[in-house]
C-alpha cells in the first residue's frame, strides 16, 4: 500500500505545482514527473505494458513537443497579474469557462466514483498480457478505437490547414 501512496502523492503534488508556479519550462517538467508517478501506479496495478506506453507516449513524445514549443517561443514567464488586470474583460470570460469546465469535471468524477464496478473494464490478466489487450482493443472496443483514430486525423488535418493559411 505504501508505494501506492508515494506515487499518488507525487502525482497529485506535481500536478498541483504545474499550475502553481509561473515558469513554463518547470511546468512541463513537473507534468513529466506526474506522468512518471502515474506510470508507477500502473506497475502497481500489474499493467507493465500500459505503464511503459504511458512513458513512451506522454513523457517521451508529447512532452518533448511541449518543451520544444515552450523553448521555441522562449516564453520566460507567464503573464503576471497586472497584465491580466489590463485585459479584465477577457479574464472574466476565461474564469467563467474554466469554472464551467471544473464543475463538469467534478460532476464526472463523482459520477464515476459512486458507480461501482459497472464498467466492462479489462480483468487484471487482460491488462498485463499484450496479446489479450490488443485483441479486445480491436474486437470489443473496435468502434471506439477507430473513432479515436479519426478524431486524431481530424486534429492533424486541422493543424495543417491552420499552418498553411498564408499561402491562400
Amino acid at each position: 500500500m505504501t508505494p501506492f501512496y508515494l506515487f499518488a502523492a507525487i502525482a497529485v503534488g506535481a500536478s498541483l505545482l504545474v499550475i502553481a508556479q509561473r515558469n513554463p519550462v518547470y511546468s512541463v517538467l513537473l507534468l513529466i514527473a506526474s506522468f512518471g508517478a502515474l506510470s508507477g501506479l500502473y506497475v502497481l496495478l500489474d499493467a507493465p505494458f500500459v505503464a511503459v506506453i504511458q512513458i513512451i507516449v506522454y513523457a517521451g513524445a508529447i512532452m518533448v513537443l511541449f518543451l520544444f514549443v515552450v523553448m521555441l517561443l522562449n516564453a520566460p514567464q507567464e503573464e503576471t497579474l497586472p497584465d491580466l488586470k489590463a485585459h479584465s474583460g477577457r479574464r472574466t470570460d476565461v474564469v467563467r469557462y474554466a469554472a464551467l469546465l471544473a464543475l463538469a469535471l467534478v460532476a464526472e468524477l463523482v459520477w464515476a466514483l459512486t458507480r461501482e464496478g459497472g464498467s466492462p473494464g479489462f480483468g487484471a490478466p487482460a491488462v498485463s498480457s499484450v496479446a489479450l489487450l490488443g485483441r479486445s482493443l480491436f474486437t470489443d472496443y473496435g468502434f471506439q478505437f477507430e473513432v479515436t483514430s479519426v478524431l486524431i486525423l481530424v486534429a492533424m488535418v486541422g493543424a495543417v490547414v491552420l499552418a498553411r493559411r498564408d499561402e491562400r
Binding site: 519550462v25 511503459v52 506506453i53 513512451i56 518533448v64 513537443l65 523553448m71
Partner: protein, 342 residues
C-alpha cells in the same frame, strides 16, 4: 539471510555498472586510435604502453578542471541536465540480457541469468528510456541561456523526435517476428540454424529493419554523420558549450554508454545475442561481446568516414525516406508473419 542468488544479483548489477563505465573509457581510446588509423596518424601513444592509459589521464584532467556556470543560467536545471543524460544512459542497459544462464563455476545452484532485470516488456522499456534521454540534452541547451546551446538543444529534440518513429517501427518488426516483448525470449528464438549454416538470426529475415535500426540508432546517439546537436563549425559545441569539468564528462559518458546500449540491443534483436557456433550457452557472453564490439567498431568507422549531413537533409531523410521505409517494412513483416506463421 541473503541467499547466494541475491548476492549474485547485487554483484551482477555492480558489475554491469562498472563494465559500462569502463567500456565508455575504452571507447574513448578506441575512437581515438581508429580515427588516427583512418587518418594515417599514430594517435595517443605517450601515456602508458601504446597510449592505453590515455582515457585515465583524460578523466583525471577533467576532474581537476574548474566547474563553470554562466551567471544567467538556470542553476537547478543546469545541474540537473547532465544527471538526466547519464542516468538514462545507464538505466537502459538494466533490461538488456547479455548472456545465457550461468552457474558461475557452480557457485550458484539455480543458475543466474546474465541480465540485471528480466522485464517482460523489455523492448519497450529500452525505447521508453531512449525517449526520455532527450530531456537531458534539451534542458542543457535551454538552461545554459546561450544561443549556441539553445540551438543545439532545439536541433536535438527535433532530430530525436523524427528518428524515434523509425526506431520504434524497426523494433516493432522484430517483435512481430519474435512474437514477444521480452528481449530474452527474442534472443532465444534466434538459436539454431537454417540448412545447417545460416544462423537463425533476425537480421536474415529483417535486413531492412536492421538497416533502419542502425541508422536511427546513430541519430539517437547523436553521432556523426548525424551529430547536429553538437556541430562544431556552426554551434561551437552545441548543447554542452557552457559545460566544463565533470558535468561535461557526464554528457561525454552518456554518449558512449548510449552507443554501447544501442549496440547491445542491436545484438540481442538482430544478431542472435549470445548464440553462435562453437561456444556453449554458459560462455555465450563471449559471442555477445564480440558482436557488440563489431557494431561499435562500425560506429566509429562511420563517424570518421562520412561527412556530416546538412540539417534539412537530415530531416528530409528521416521523414521522407526512413519513416515510409519503416512503415512498409512493418506491413510486409506483418503480412509475412500472418501468412507463414512466426
Amino acid at each position: 539471510m541473503p541467499t547466494p542468488l541475491f548476492i549474485a544479483q547485487i554483484g551482477l548489477t555492480l558489475f554491469v555498472f562498472v563494465m559500462l563505465l569502463s567500456s565508455a573509457a575504452g571507447m574513448v581510446y578506441v575512437e581515438r586510435k581508429v580515427a588516427a588509423l583512418l587518418q594515417q596518424r599514430i594517435g595517443p601513444y605517450l601515456v602508458g604502453p601504446k597510449g592505453l592509459l590515455q582515457p585515465l589521464a583524460d578523466i583525471i584532467k577533467l576532474m581537476f578542471k574548474e566547474e563553470l556556470r554562466p551567471s544567467a543560467a538556470d542553476a537547478f536545471l543546469f545541474a540537473l541536465a547532465p544527471i538526466i543524460s547519464a542516468t538514462c544512459a545507464f538505466a537502459a542497459f538494466a533490461v538488456v540480457p547479455f548472456g545465457g544462464d550461468t552457474t558461475l563455476l557452480g557457485l550458484i545452484p539455480g543458475g543466474l541469468r546474465l541480465q540485471v532485470a528480466d522485464v517482460n516488456v523489455a523492448i519497450l522499456v529500452v525505447f521508453a528510456i531512449a525517449s526520455m534521454s532527450v530531456y537531458g540534452i534539451v534542458l542543457a541547451g535551454w538552461s545554459s541561456n546561450s544561443k549556441y546551446s539553445l540551438l543545439g538543444g532545439l536541433r536535438s529534440s527535433a532530430q530525436m523526435i523524427s528518428y524515434e518513429l523509425s526506431y520504434g517501427l524497426a523494433l516493432a518488426g522484430v517483435l512481430l517476428v519474435g512474437n514477444s516483448l521480452s528481449l530474452t525470449d527474442i534472443v532465444n528464438r534466434q538459436a539454431g540454424t537454417w540448412l545447417g549454416f545460416i544462423p537463425h538470426w533476425f537480421v536474415v529475415v529483417q535486413p531492412i529493419g536492421f538497416l533502419i535500426y542502425m541508422t536511427a540508432g546513430i541519430a539517437e546517439t547523436n553521432r556523426a554523420p548525424f551529430d547536429f546537436p553538437e556541430a562544431e563549425q556552426e554551434l561551437v559545441a552545441g548543447y554542452h558549450t557552457e559545460y566544463s569539468s565533470m558535468s561535461f564528462a557526464m554528457f561525454f559518458l552518456a554518449e558512449y554508454v548510449n552507443m554501447v546500449t544501442v549496440s547491445a540491443v542491436a545484438t540481442d534483436l538482430f544478431l542472435g545475442g549470445w548464440h553462435g557456433p562453437f561456444l556453449s550457452e554458459s560462455i555465450g557472453w563471449i559471442w555477445f561481446l564480440l558482436k557488440v564490439a563489431a557494431i561499435l567498431f562500425f560506429y566509429v568507422w562511420m563517424r570518421w568516414t562520412l561527412p556530416r549531413y546538412r540539417y534539412d537533409q537530415l530531416m528530409r531523410f528521416g521523414w521522407k525516406i526512413l519513416l515510409p521505409l519503416a512503415v512498409v517494412n512493418l506491413l510486409v513483416t506483418a503480412a509475412g508473419v500472418l501468412y507463414f506463421g512466426s
